[in-house]
């Protein structure tokens, strides 16, 4: 049974409705959860940067090995060397936070430039850019990163630069697509006819008015990907090295204990990865539905 009710007072203004009536409830839950995670990550990053941790993350405590979560003094328990998992999780954010932002910055700025060029200037320019995006897309990201690691050194900033460059095509295609849609509606011709300067059209009318939602979404999804990549690489042993914690190497170093039935030292960072990436993905998709007007009826 689905119930439809006509409100007696005629509703004239959509934006005067409460949020839950304007947008679908799952989308709002997605965004709410995502914002919660973003807030947690931000706070934890600052705590880690100023070393405001409940325990010294390197402090080995042989008296208290693999304490379960909820142990007095150790909210999330301790690992196989008696180190406080909560502190190590918080510090682990340092491993991906700034590099991830760098990757997003590269992907967005490169994507904006190429996307605007491809969408605005057709012909030869577009062909060259299409070739470039196809070329970048031909490399599996992780293989390209292993190549760079072999050639240079396993530095997270190199890795994130590669991540940024490989993120350019997605952003560029999205922006070029958007501009094509605008051009079909004669939006750009109208702007030119109004005598606006190209710079104003591109910066204000195309990027600011029409692409900002798209860019926020791309940035959010990009952060999720950056976390996935950083944890994968530090899991493979190419990122941050023990004893400095990162979520990936925490999972990896707990592997042997996991197989013996001591799940927690591996599972805690794995859940941190799961909930964080889930948060960024849901935030991105929820924002996409709300800001780009999909699914909201």
């Amino acid at each position: 049974m689905k119930k439809y009710v006509q409100t007696t007072a005629a509703v004239s203004n959509f934006s005067s409705l409460p949020l839950y009536q304007r947008f679908s409830i799952p989308d709002l839950l997605y965004v709410g959860y995502g914002l919660l995670i973003v807030g947690l990550v931000l706070v934890s990053y600052v705590l880690g940067a100023f070393n405001l941790l409940p325990h010294d993350p390197q402090q080995i405590n042989m008296e208290l090995l693999m304490a379960p979560p909820g142990t007095a003094g150790h909210l999330l328990g301790t690992d196989f060397m008696g180190r406080d998992i909560q502190s190590r999780l918080i510090l682990g954010i340092q491993a991906y936070f700034l590099p991830g932002l760098l990757a997003i910055f590269i992907a967005l700025s490169g994507g904006i430039v190429l996307g605007v060029l491809a969408g605005y200037r057709r012909g030869y320019t577009e062909t060259v850019i299409t070739y470039f995006t196809n070329l970048v897309d031909s490399f599996p990201r992780l293989v390209l990163i292993l190549l760079v690691i072999a050639a240079f050194k396993p530095d997270i900033y190199y890795i994130m630069m590669v991540m940024g460059v490989t993120g350019i095509p997605a952003v560029a295609n999205a922006i070029a697509g958007k501009i094509r849609v605008l051009a079909q509606k004669n939006f750009i011709e109208a702007a030119i006819a109004l005598g606006l300067r190209t710079r104003v059209i591109i910066l204000k009318h195309i990027l600011w008015y029409n692409c900002r939602a798209l860019l926020i979404i791309q940035a959010t999804l990009g952060m999720g990907e950056a976390i996935l990549l950083e944890t994968s690489l530090s899991y493979l042993g190419f990122g941050v090295q023990e004893p400095t914690p990162s979520w990936g190497n925490m999972v990896q170093s707990g592997a042997n204990y996991f197989m013996q039935g001591n799940f927690w030292p591996s599972t805690a960072p794995a859940l941190a990865i799961l909930f964080t990436i889930l948060g960024f993905n849901l935030l991105g998709d929820g924002l996409n539905n709300i800001l780009e007007g999909k699914r909201s009826r």
Binding site: K2, Y4, Q6, V11, L17, R22
Partner: protein, 365 residues
């Protein structure tokens, strides 16, 4: 007198405007009859509920709440049934001041029940053609394949070769040149008019009893429009098929219809024999029909250099339907004696001549 082929009674199809938290009363009490071998024209402005009426008959409404009341009795030689049988078991209405203010509908349940009622109807008993024929044909299948599919589904022919022959025969009957070549053409390779001919071939190939033509000429070039109307006229006299013809184009309605229903704001405001109803000089007429006729150019008016009259005012807001006559705000024939009634009470259809009904307070004594 035998039962009419199609008898729509007090059909109501609503949609829900989520943004305005209100119902769009697209079809709000339409009653119509289509007799055997008869063509009934349904005319009205866009938004008057013509197409939604047709889609409701076919059970093709997919947005909620959709069809919420009424009956659609269908009675051909082979099938007699109410296409909305049992609808009331799935729908609960809450009314205040005679208006539906809340609808609870078990949409999945009704969808299942409706699919059961429509089994053997769509394509076989009732066929439908649409406006924008190019988009209405599957772009990934050749035109011939699509007609053959209809033949094999409903024409009682399952052998591939025979079905193909049948499809070719119908391509010929709708006057598509070189049918053997066109058989393998994809819709993207044909003109709009050609596509509509193919649609008509597809619809008639299963020899249905009723054809619903939903704006069959809209969006086509004027000369093509006229040819499609010619074709429909010819096929009608050849096959004797009953037709529910929906159009906003009075000239198309004039050329094809035996009876005409004028829709305004989701309800029939005038219903009667085509000749009587479309006669611009007849007095017994709803003011909307009169206005509609006055807005159409014809030879006489052009010779007289008369101005074409536009209908003043705006199309009825089907969300905030006024309580009185729905044409009240635009009517130019209101007399002081009936003004109060026009503003507050919705008139019933009233027979003004045999078989001719008008929904207007002027004809109610």
């Amino acid at each position: 007198m035998t039962a009419p082929l199609l008898k729509i009674d007090n059909l109501r199809t609503y949609f829900y405007a989520r943004r305005k938290q209100a119902f769009v009363r697209s079809v709000d009490g339409v009653s119509l009859e289509v007799g055997r071998r008869e063509t009934v024209g349904v005319v009205g402005e866009s938004g008057s509920g013509k197409s939604i009426t047709a889609m409701s008959v076919m059970g093709l409404i997919s947005s909620g709440p959709g069809v919420i009341g009424g009956s659609i009795h269908y009675a051909s030689d082979k099938v007699q049934r109410n296409l909305l049988d049992g609808l009331e078991n799935f729908v609960q209405l809450e009314q205040s001041d005679g208006r539906v203010m809340a609808v609870s509908k078990d949409e999945r349940g009704w969808q299942k029940a409706s699919e059961k009622l429509m089994a053997g109807m769509r394509g076989r008993e009732i066929a439908m053609i649409f406006q924008n024929p190019r988009a209405s044909l599957n772009p990934y299948l050749s035109v011939g394949e699509q007609i053959t599919e209809a033949v094999r589904l409903h024409g009682g022919i399952t052998a591939a070769k025979e079905a193909r022959e049948r499809a070719l025969h119908w391509l010929e009957r709708v006057k598509i040149d070189t049918p053997h070549l066109r058989y393998n053409t994809y819709p993207s390779g044909m003109s709009g008019g050609m596509c509509q001919r193919a649609m008509i071939a597809m619809a008639l190939s299963s020899e249905p009893s009723l054809l619903i033509a939903d704006e069959p000429t809209t969006g086509l070039d004027a000369t093509i429009q006229s040819k499609i109307v010619d074709l429909l006229q010819e096929l009608k006299s050849e096959t004797g098929i009953s037709t529910l013809l929906i159009s906003h184009d009075i000239s198309v309605i004039t050329r094809l219809s035996d009876r005409v229903a004028v829709l305004y704001g989701g309800a029939v405001v005038e219903y009667g024999p085509a000749r009587q109803l479309l006669d611009a000089h007849a007095e017994l007429k709803h003011s909307y029909t009169a206005a509609l006729l006055a807005s159409v150019p014809n030879e006489q008016k052009i010779r007289a250099r008369a101005n074409l009259q536009a209908i003043e005012g705006e199309v009825l807001d089907t969300i905030n339907v006024p309580p009185g006559c729905r044409f009240y705000a635009r009517c130019n024939r209101i007399t002081p004696e009936i003004r109060d009634k026009c503003a507050t009470l919705h008139p019933e259809l009233k027979e003004v001549a045999p078989g001719h009904q008008v929904r207007c307070w002027r004809f109610v004594n």
